[in-house]
């Protein structure tokens, strides 16, 4: 899409409201698109009133989706919203991924990206506006044609009708005429009570392609003459190349070149296999740097020691230190490991770099950042670099990297390859070459009186900052505190009079990144587990204790009560099983989870998981269900199996045998219940993850009397 076309289109203006929400206005230029100057790729008669929708003469509606589809269903949800206001025939609605352009930036963050479970929250209103504007113009075109007042026209299922005169025209028929009309400034939106599509379970638009194998992930992009590169990365995160002996690698038939690209040594070949064989034969003498000797065990010790002192204060209500001198005090340390995202599609990128142009295909969550990084790496101007977003074979945060690591690496190799180039990270590269959920240590103490009332709460958190050192530092790190390190803890909702949350941020040469649910992935585990410890110590029902502490938090209570009811909390679990619960608010949504577990040969067997979610108005209820099901399996994988560990500065895991994923035979029956709500829609990609691990461990405590304070769970902790 040429920039000149975009400049005539919609742009978004955002104002942050006092409540921290977002107010989004779609401003449209006075002049609409004329027939004949349609966007690139579309026939001239297409009606494209704004950057988000295009209607062809055959009636096909294409919604331009500015969010990456990594499984969360956004390439169905956003078209649903637009189609609702457009009154489109859903059978004729399709989608395309947006090119990189400021008009597609996240209204709140100012860059084009997908993350933080913000897509529906941020894009529902702009998509409604875009659909309503298109509808109004189609109505205006019909009214002009029929010489009737626009107000007398009705729309439904892709048609404009005028009942009295028995007129009826399809959107396709009206598209060319509508394209010649002025774009209206203010168009009314439907009352949500009138929604016919939004809020109804709707089939995904991408299921068929994914089931038939025709959905294009970046790894599937093939260009004539394309080379494949594999990279030997340093064994430590501080490593650098000292010397390369590549004669044997170059002798492998199909190997074209071996180049040092800074992040590692690339073997360029005619395909994956010769590149792999070449890399196997490559000998690199590494300078391992200061990271040698780094080990998970030593880090655990270091973090434990750091927790002895109070860190930078993230929250300070009342006087927690004083309160801890009263009543009965409970103390515990909780530990969580580094985690890899391990998307099923390993990181990869296709680059077609020519003298003054560069085309890139990537399954990225971070278009603006990756585009800028690619321009810098290629030495080209922004308009010379085109980034195509493909489907993502899983993201979980890994494909939103402020350093654009694999994108930059691919561009650098492409420069040397002098041919279209595909960079592929093997599974081992994907697990070992970096970017992990930080390792965390929490020390927590609380005091309570003899009636079970909590008097004071002190939570000391130790772990690396994801944000420090990135361009986002100035927005997301305040007074030395990375907000993503303490989220969930600094806004803990429980009514406790004295609360102190503090943070230590050690510097460790291990690259870290947001991992599905980010800071909530550790704070929810610690808080919800420790609250369960208090409930047990004070002989209170965990649900009753939470009820008491959550008065004034109706949405927390709403999900808690619904999950408890649906999970039969008040009736005993079947023989040999126990239940545990947790509730957590993250990414503006609320989830409560009840896990029912038994032990089989000493290992947890999760039978049943009941989730209740409040995510405001639901766009596609089936997507909400699917995301909660998936988050349950994702959280269960982490709780039972996942740890990235270091020895001698090297990552020990190498593939799915030692970084194990949940399997079908371990998947519990998951039931998802949605709290009806008229609040604005909020995200569902991440919020299901945080409560799973604590609910599971709380259930295991009820079953065995053993308290799990370290993830992943080890068999010996249950014996």
């Amino acid at each position: 899409m040429p920039a000149s076309a975009l400049s005539r289109r919609a742009f978004l203006r955002v104002t942050a409201t006092a409540a921290g929400g977002m107010l989004v206005a779609v401003q449209l230029p006075a002049r609409g698109k004329r027939a004949g100057d349609g966007p690139a790729g579309g026939p001239p008669a297409d009606f494209a009133p704004n950057a988000f929708v295009r209607i062809a003469a055959d009636g096909k509606v294409t919604v331009i989706v500015n969010k990456s589809e990594m499984g969360q269903g956004i390439s169905t949800s956003l078209p649903m919203v637009l189609a609702e206001e457009l009154d489109a025939d859903w059978q004729k609605v399709g989608f395309e991924f947006a090119p990189v352009d400021p008009v597609y930036a996240h209204p709140g963050y100012g860059i084009q990206m997908t993350g933080g479970s913000t897509s529906t929250m941020a894009m529902t209103e702009p998509m409604r506006q875009a659909g309503a504007v298109a509808r109004a113009m189609l109505v205006a075109a019909a009214a002009q044609k029929w010489r009737v007042p626009a107000a007398e026209c009705r729309t439904a299922d892709g048609f404009v009708t005028h009942e009295k005169n028995h007129e009826r025209a399809s959107y396709g028929e009206l598209a060319a005429a509508a394209a010649g009309l002025p774009v209206p400034k203010d168009v009314p939106l439907k009352d949500p009570q009138q929604w016919r599509l939004v809020g109804k379970p709707t089939h995904r638009l991408d299921s068929a392609a994914k089931v038939r194998g025709t959905a294009v992930f970046s790894i599937d992009v093939q260009l004539p003459g394309m080379r494949t590169a594999l990279v030997a990365h340093p064994p430590t995160f501080t490593g650098k190349v000292r010397a390369i002996r590549d004669a044997a690698a170059r002798a492998v038939p199909g190997v074209v070149d071996v180049v040092d690209v800074g992040s590692g040594v690339a073997v360029i070949a005619t395909g994956f296999w010769p590149a792999k064989l070449g890399r196997d034969k490559l000998e690199v003498d590494w300078d391992l740097g200061e990271g040698t000797g780094l080990s998970s065990e030593a880090l655990r010790e270091r973090y434990r020691e750091l927790a002895n002192g109070t860190g930078l204060v993230a929250r300070n209500d009342g006087d927690a230190e004083k309160a801890l001198g009263e009543g009965t005090v409970l103390r515990a340390d909780y530990e969580l490991p580094y985690l890899a995202h391990a998307p099923m599609e390993p990181l990869n990128c296709v680059v077609d770099l020519k003298g003054d142009s560069c085309e890139i295909w990537a399954g990225t969550q971070f278009q603006t950042v990756d585009h800028a990084a690619a321009c810098a790496a290629a030495g080209l101007r922004p308009e010379q670099v085109k980034l195509h977003t493909t489907f993502l074979g899983g993201g979980f945060g890994r494909r939103a990297n402020p350093a654009s690591d694999y994108i930059v690496e691919a561009v650098k190799i492409a420069k040397a390859a002098k041919a279209p180039l595909q960079l592929i990270w093997t599974r081992t590269d994907d697990l070992r070459a970096g970017y992990y959920r930080p390792m965390w240590h929490s020390r927590i103490a609380a005091s309570h009186d003899d009636k079970g009332a909590i008097l004071g709460w002190k939570h000391t958190i130790v772990g690396q900052s994801i944000i420090a050192g990135t361009p986002f530092e100035k927005f997301l790190v305040k007074d030395g505190i990375d907000g993503t390190s303490v989220e969930g803890a600094d806004d803990m909702p429980y009514a406790i009079p004295n609360v102190l949350v503090s943070l230590h941020t050690p510097k460790v040469p291990v690259p870290t990144l947001w991992w599905r649910s980010v800071g909530h992935s550790h704070t929810a585990f610690v808080i919800e587990s420790f609250l369960d410890e208090i409930a047990a110590a004070t002989r209170q029902d965990p649900l009753a204790l939470r009820r008491r502490l959550l008065a004034g938090h109706p949405r927390h209570l709403g999900v808690l009560e619904l999950a408890a009811r649906q999970a039969d909390w008040d009736t005993p679990a079947p023989a040999g099983r126990a239940r545990g619960l947790a509730v957590h608010h993250s990414f503006a949504s609320y989830v409560a989870t009840v896990v029912e577990v038994s032990l089989e040969r000493g290992w947890p067997r999760v039978h049943r998981v009941t989730c209740a979610v409040d995510c405001g108005r639901t766009i596609n209820p089936d997507t909400v269900t699917a995301q909660l099901e998936g988050a349950t399996g994702f959280g269960l994988t982490a709780a039972l199996y996942s740890a990235i560990t270091l020895a001698d500065g090297r990552i020990e895991q190498s593939n799915f045998h030692d970084y194990r994923m949940l399997r079908v035979y371990e998947m519990p029956a998951v039931a998802v219940h949605v709290v009806p709500s008229d609040e604005p829609p909020t995200g569902v990609g991440e919020p299901g993850v945080p409560p799973l691990a604590p609910a599971l461990c709380n259930a295991l405590f009820r079953l065995t009397g053993k308290r799990i304070r370290r993830l992943p769970i080890r068999k010996e902790d249950l014996a």
Binding site: V211, R212, V216, F217, G254, G271, W273, F391, H657, V664
Partner: protein, 155 residues
Amino acid sequence: MPLELQVNGRRATVDVDPATPLLWVLRENLHLMGTKYGCGAAQCGACTVHLDGNAMRSCVLPVAAAAGKAVTTIEGLGGAAGAALQTAWIELDVPQCGYCQTGQIMSAAVLLREKPAPTDADIDACMGGNVCRCATYQRIRNAIHRAAALATGGR
């Protein structure tokens, strides 16, 4: 060394290192992109194809071992069970990211041939080698049951 392959009922001649895993020959030489690379070590099942009707992990199968045998990929999956599986997968909206789903379906197709009405235990036994990072397992299970019903004339 030229090798004769029979893929999805068509003959193809490829000139590659005979040790090359079948996966890369399917993708790079025959441009059949529905078979996915996930681990390169037969640990995730994303690369599952049929070799003379048996489910195989093509990421570790030397292409030479496929010569003279019938290779079926997702692009060539046919039969009542194949169609039923794809219909059921769409009906239940199984995929999330979708990357593993073609491999899941190829494994499920062998299961349905062996056990037209599989039990949950049959599904556990047959599908345990196919990883889904999005954890769509509950829907995979339901879709297999649904496909079994569709394939045997149920509705």
